[in-house]
């Protein structure tokens, strides 16, 4: 993580706010999120479903439709370019070429009536203006690199003819096609079996290192974070609650929510212990609690937490936490 700091910054996001107006009220999906991603770095964005992590990642690529979404952002800089100033046409030039996205469910994320090869060809044809033959050659090479056996034959297969892991690899190949500067992977392994998950993650990490790409890994799975990420942002109810290098986060989580998330990961060594979970549920995005959004579920909550929203405060090098009573080593019962 220290070496990443001297590198150029790939993504700089400041104060992103996304709101969806509905008949029942405003859904405040994202409330002032800051993100920094540096060259060759893998950053994880962690949170439960409904915490706004997918919306954040789509807002970065400017893929959210507006309307319905209302989007405000102070800074959205990608590789030194101000994305907020670009037209949709200019964004299209960047998408798929300089920043790409990998989605969760490869079955629904691939067009069912088009061969997978053709869907990858499209990227080359769009961004490099390749001929059909040239694009297909690159596609086959790409599929081979990503670990698909018999790539030439597989390119002519339709998505439903491939296995789940294979389909996910196709999405990887698609994202890495133009060697983009940034890849956003939105729950890339959630739909897969655990064994396949490990393989796909390994491929993803390997490709990322090999291509010199930065990676924003959006996930709810802390074990994926531990094995893959360099730095972690923890998101809760539309806000970043903790930001830390991965090692520090796992040795000493500061936010009670992070602690709860970690305690909820089942471990083989804890077989006798009861499975723990965070009490309560994620607040409704329309009707969020006063003060700190986490206080109704927090065992350490005080009167102040009920009234006031804490700020993200620095806690040591490269760490920030949004809590009045951050936990330190030894107090959380983990280390």
């Amino acid at each position: 993580m220290g070496e990443g700091r001297v590198m150029e910054q790939v993504l700089k996001l400041r104060n992103l706010k996304v709101v969806f107006p509905t008949d029942y009220g405003l859904i405040r999906a994202v409330e002032g999120v800051d993100l920094d991603i540096y060259h060759r770095e893998c950053v994880a964005l962690v949170g439960e479903s409904g915490s706004g992590k997918s919306v954040t990642s789509q807002a970065v690529m400017r893929l959210l439709d507006s309307p319905p979404a209302l989007i405000r952002v102070d800074t959205l800089e990608f590789a030194g370019q101000d994305l907020t100033q670009l037209t949709e046409q200019q964004m299209q030039e960047i998408r798929g070429k300089e920043m790409a996205m990998i989605f969760q469910d490869a079955m629904t994320s691939l067009n069912p009536v088009m061969t997978v090869g053709k869907q990858i060809d499209e990227v080359y044809r769009r961004h490099y203006g390749d001929s059909k033959q040239a694009a297909r050659e690159k596609t086959v090479k790409n599929l081979e690199l990503i670990g698909i056996p018999e790539p030439k034959e597989r390119a002519n297969a339709f998505p439903h003819q491939l296995s789940g892991g294979m389909r996910q690899r196709v999405l990887l190949a698609m994202a890495f096609a133009c060697m983009p500067k940034l890849i956003i992977a939105d729950e890339p392994t959630t739909a897969l079996d655990v064994t396949i998950q490990a393989q796909v993650l390994k491929t993803l990490r390997g490709m990322q290192r090999g291509c010199g790409t930065s990676l924003l890994l959006v996930t709810h799975d802390l074990s994926v974070v531990a094995s893959t990420a360099d730095r972690v942002y923890v998101m809760y109810a539309g806000k970043i609650v903790e930001k830390a290098p991965v090692k520090d986060l796992f040795t000493a989580p500061h936010h009670p929510y992070t602690v709860g998330l970690m305690a909820a990961v089942p471990r083989l060594s804890d077989e006798k212990k009861k499975f723990t979970q965070i009490p309560g549920t994620v607040p409704s995005p329309i009707d969020k609690p006063s003060g700190c959004y986490f206080h109704p579920r927090c065992t350490y909550a005080t009167e102040r937490c009920r009234r006031e929203m804490p700020r993200l405060t620095p806690m040591g090098p490269d760490r920030e936490v949004r809590c009045f009573h951050p936990l330190s080593v030894g107090r959380n019962g983990h280390d």
Binding site: Q92, I94, R95, A100, F103, S109, N111, P112
Partner: protein, 332 residues
Amino acid sequence: MKLSYVIKRVLYSLFVFAVVITLNFFIPRIGVADPAERYYPPQGNMSDIEYEIVKQLTREQYGFHVSTWQQYLNYLKGLARGDLGTSFRPGSPKVMDLITERLPWTLVLSVSTMLIGLIVGVLFGVVAAVKRGRWQDTLLLNASTVMVALPSFFIALILSFYLGFEWEIFPAYTDSTMVSEFAWTWEGISRVARNAALPVMSMMVGSIISYAQGTRNAVIAVTNEDFVLTARAKGLKTSTIRYKHILRNSLLPIVTSLGMSISGLIGGQVVIEQVFNWQGMGTLFLEANQTNDYPLMMGIMLLLSGFTIFAILVTDLIYVLLDPRVTVGDKR
């Protein structure tokens, strides 16, 4: 895999057709004991013996003098030769000739209605889907609500009253010499077009709106699919996404409804033909019905069901071409 699917579908269709032929033969015979007696009641001062002779001659002429089973075999033999039987009409015309004489005129109406409905409807549907929630979309929604309550014969009455009688733009009633005087000249074709205008207009409103509604819903459903987001994330142009990804997937339900309506091309406009006195299959069927001309009814029914089976077969086969997921026993 695909070839075996095609063969399977064709065999299945043939089987259904065989069942239809059999039912088509036996059902009319359940209600009528001796057609000769029914259709040739005694006339004038015919003696009993004379009447028996007439009946016997009639039976022989139409092939009723043998057992039902034998009649069935004869019917099948006739079908194999393309002979649908002989009508009870005066002059004993062949059923086949009656049908081939009327069928083109029905197709003039139904095919043009379908083509206009399909082309204009799909176009409207795509526009409404793209402009979702704006006035184009609202217009379609309201129009389709109104159409549910407006049957085509009602539209036909209004059109024939205003455009036909009041303003005399198009003939309100098909002129009786149109068919007999038809020739492949500019004159003849434009005459048919003028006469067909009102019936086609009456039917096309509903056709356009139902295709538009179907297309709109299909396009919107596909637009919300994940793979469209993937396509956008690849940086594809909006037009590429719309035509290569969305429209192709939206075609599947459209093809289905097209296949359904193809079967209605022959017999689906009995009422409209009647309103405008259009000499097509619908009027022929009504005539056959009114005169108890059951060889003719059987012939028309057979053609209808055969055509329906064929349309469903073609729809299924087109599906295989459009959607690679459709194969024998393949589950997602």
